[in-house]
Amino acid sequence: MISAIECQAESAAPPNVATEAAALRSVTKTYGSQIALDAADLSIGRGELVALLGPNGAGKTTALKLMLGLLRADAGTVRVFGRDPREASHRQRTGAMLQVTRVPETLRVREHIDLFSSYYPHPLPMAEVVGVAGLEGIENRLFGELSGGQKQRVLFALAICGNPDLLFLDEPTVGLDVQARRGLWKQIRALVAQGKSILLTTHYLEEADALANRIVVINHGRVIANGTPAEMKQNASLEDAFLALTGDEGEPR
């Protein structure tokens, strides 16, 4: 079963710039002696939602940060819309939701959105951002006064306010209750329906299964499976595949 999925990883399609939003091509990234990514290939097609799945320390966040231009690859190529994302002006078509421990607390929700919108050439109207992110009624609250779920929605608003073509969502629903998670899923699906490309990292198999066109599983910095949720399920249930691949099957659940 494992080897069947590995075969799919090896037969990845060749890169095509016209249909590709972002890609890592045999990218290696190390931190000292620690290998975070080991000749990893990853591509996000236009209009596609790719879920990057893997245990802690697998290299998910490193892959995302390389595509955001926050890190420099040791080897290989990183491309976003055919360009190097390390240049700030090349990031006008991307938006990001990262795991931020502390956001300036004495700015209002509206002010945070206003500032991030100013970075982009064609931002969405404020009312639309507030509506999509579900922030009606709390626009004038200070960030520090918000609940955990509301804070998470503000970070989502900052990711989408510039009307980007490509979104990076790093564990966007972590810490949300079931209802809030479903609400965010709905918004993410709506963005895909508009033709946006999305790379989403997650720990939740259910989330990857519910949202993704394609699931990429990585572990120890290597892509070990790459396919549609249906393809993954042909081999076994997705969860069994994931657990088998990451060597967690022996853990009690």
Partner: protein, 253 residues
């Protein structure tokens, strides 16, 4: 469009700090209180000028230095330590806007501080300065925002998010004492007076004292040169620390 980004970045940097009571009280309130105690309540003749006039110059330096060191160091330490800076760097914001906004916010706070200090001195301390000298004092102190902002950058890269305010105090308070910002320089022990020329606070203080004393062309060039040299060294150090920070594995893979 780029001008709009710089404007909004600076505006919100100022506004959000203005809403933090600890920042306003700590950086404006404390130095003003010390000026009231030592400059106004103990107001006596001091050579050709009154103590209230002399200390107007040195507490001007103390306040502006504090505004800039805390403004840069504490916010930078928190923002780089807890993920906010990274989200900004992942956005299309021009990187310079982040630092320019902090400098502008510090200059605005400095202007407010100097205005309040002058109001106290003129209102209650029998300070007599010509309008031209008042403007000269503003110019000298605001120019001081540049070396102290650069110094704040260095401290912001050295400090960690939780201990930044104490870290800055541990460095800034002894430095202020040794430069004669709290009590006239002549009253300090000889060994302290020998250390002072190695501190930027001393040079800015000498320039401000020259203004309130009415000294013209009295060796001020050397102090300007020293401040310029400090600025270059601090910016170089900050750039080195920034590169170290960027290449370091923050424990996230």
């Amino acid at each position: 469009m780029t001008a709009t980004i710089y404007f909004k970045e600076a505006k919100y940097e100022f506004v959000r700090r203005l809403r933090v009571r600890a920042f306003v009280l700590g950086t404006l309130g404390f130095p003003l209180m010390f000026y009231v105690l030592f400059g106004l309540l103990m107001n006596q003749s001091f050579g050709p000028i009154r103590m209230s006039t002399y200390l107007l110059a040195t507490y001007g330096v103390f306040g502006v230095g504090g505004v800039c060191l805390f403004g840069f160091a504490v916010s930078l330490a928190i923002e780089r330590g807890l993920g906010w800076l990274e989200l900004k760097q992942a956005s299309p914001m021009p990187p310079a806007a982040y630092f320019v906004a902090k400098l502008i916010a510090c200059i605005l706070f400095s202007i407010v501080y100097i205005a309040l200090l002058l109001a106290l001195g003129f209102g209650f301390g029998h300070v007599q300065l010509s309008l031209l000298d008042v403007l000269r004092l503003f110019a000298v102190l605001i120019a001081g925002a540049i070396p102290f902002g650069a110094f704040g950058l260095v401290l912001g890269y050295l400090a960690n998010a939780t201990s930044a305010p104490s870290f800055v105090n541990m460095i800034y308070l002894p430095m202020s004492f040794c430069s004669g910002l709290w009590m006239p320089f002549q009253f300090l022990p000889k060994v302290v007076r020998q250390i002072a020329p190695f501190l930027p606070t001393y040079h800015l203080s000498e320039l401000s004292i020259a203004v309130v004393r009415g000294d013209r062309n009295n060796g001020t060039l050397a102090h300007w040169e020293a401040l310029a040299a400090f600025t270059l060294v601090f910016i170089g150090l900050a750039a080195l620390l920034q590169r170290r920070d960027a290449s370091r594995n923050n424990g996230l893979l």
